[in-house]
Amino acid sequence: MADNKALLSVEELKVYFRSEDEVARAVDGVSFDVGREETVCLVGESGCGKTVTALSVMGLVPIPPGEIAGGKILFRAKNLLDFNDSDMQKVRGNQIAMIFQEPLTSLNPVFTIGDQIGEAIQIHQTATQSEVVERSQQLLKDVGIADPAQRLRDYPHQLSGGQRQRVMIAMALACDPDLVIADEPTTALDVTVQAQILRLLDTIQKMRSMSVLYITHDLGVVSKIADRICVMYAGIIAEQGNKDAVLKTPKHPYTQALLASLPNREKRGQRLYSIPGTVPNPAYKPDGCPFHPRCQHTIQNCSEQYPGMCDYGDGHHARCPVLFEGGKGNWCD
């Protein structure tokens, strides 16, 4: 599956959190690629390991309690998991940047916006003070903030949530990264602001021709921006493929259930479908397919054997043998 041309290629990544008497397998064998100039969406209910996957790419999983239990993270064909701390610092913010879910708490309250953006520039590049100021202003302009010179002197509490998220985006763009990871960047914002931020990210991605790994629990967002989609469930990739393939012909019961629970015009006035049950605690996942207790297509095998990936061609894979060619898909032990 690993395509050599991919910018980022995550292979069989496993991240566990150990506590005194249990091991939470938050990410349990995840593989996906992000190609150049591609927007890949990582979708799944909350608690299924999306943030941990993103933090692993950044080398920011807190260790301990976390532990990278296996796999590779190839960025430009080099395994980031082999990098030492100072090599990783040169990657972070410079080649891979991350935008976080909570704009309200992700900026340091005691430093000005100018300080915080300028710092992101200076850590990786040599620039004079006036160049830094000029660049920071340009960045703020790029993310659609009015009166950038004044805003640079503001503290985070003087800005609204949407403006702060724009600042976070500006900060992420400071060193022209090849890959931007956006972890639910609009979840904490209200709906109109969400749409603006989404459009902004989309424009910037095209303008700067960078790759984006966009994390969300909202399939509605996905249809607007994704090139490819990875559906994640309980620490594994349930299904992945091109946007249209996954949204129009979903092959995993979990993807189908997520789509069924989306509101749309035809369903107006009806009760919305919701998936019964909840995401399992990563320390106590059911045997076999982790989704089987909530699945409508469960057969005997599902609770006993681990499902294998089934190939639908053109990069479309789903980890559900039951729905594959009348149940002839492969199972692992």
Binding site: L107, V110, M168
Partner: protein, 319 residues
Amino acid sequence: MISFIGRSIVQKIITLFFVSIVSFLIIHLAPGEPSQVDPMNPKFTREMVERFRTEFHLDKPLYRQYLYFFRDLFSGKTISWKDNQPVFKKIWERFLNSLPLFIVGTILTWTISFPVGIRSAIFRGGIYDRSSTFFAYLLISIPGFFFAYILIIFVVNQFHVPVIGMETFGIGDTAWMNRAMDRIWHLLLPSLLGATGGIAVLSRYVRSQMLEVEGQDYVRTAKAKGLTPDQVHYKHALRNALLPFVTMFGLILPGLIGGSVIIESIFAWPGMGRMAYEAILARDYPIILTLNFVSAVLVLIGTFISDLLYLVVDPRIRL
């Protein structure tokens, strides 16, 4: 800004007024009276007691006594009932004695607690963290007086220097070098002992503040930028962790009076803490009340300073 300062000063004066009433009442409601301090003393005849009571207005109603006291206080005429010395002069002398103890103790406390607490937080769970935790709890649980005696015995036996009092008796004639060394030796032990409890508590507090801040989202953002661990810890985390200590910084001033009673007693150090203690035993109301008033003023000045400092260090606070 100006209006904030004005408002704050008015508030503090009102507070001071209520504090003065309450402390006056507490002292007068406490059992015992100055005229009864030594009923066995044959010189204390009934007439003597009566004369004493009239002279110091003890026969007047409480509110009159209160007014008399503050009239004397503000005109600087308050005198000690024990030796008829002006109270301000006595307090000033003792204050000058307490000051070096207080300054050295405070410097020791703050310069040791912060590096220890910060390091423990950054390397939490490590050997450094665990041993500093152990010592902190050890210092908290050993009573100060016990620790003091152990240290005194140790220093006297090992270095053969006397440490009781402010200076060695009869040292006045020797060269100034010897006298300076002597003063430093006498100062070091009580300051260190006075500081131990503070170091133990403050370093734990610094550690917990730092730990809390290290878990904040903006620290993760700082790491995600590719900053070095030093920049993350000492710029982004520390700056936020320090904010609450600005408040404490304002509150150390009152420690000048109450903070050192035990240490001053053990080391026979003629400071303010001991003076207060002796005054209470002797029911020397003018001294007790004046010290009370002065420490209330110090508390209010301290909080005022920390309010101002907060304005400077925390951009979120605007007027």
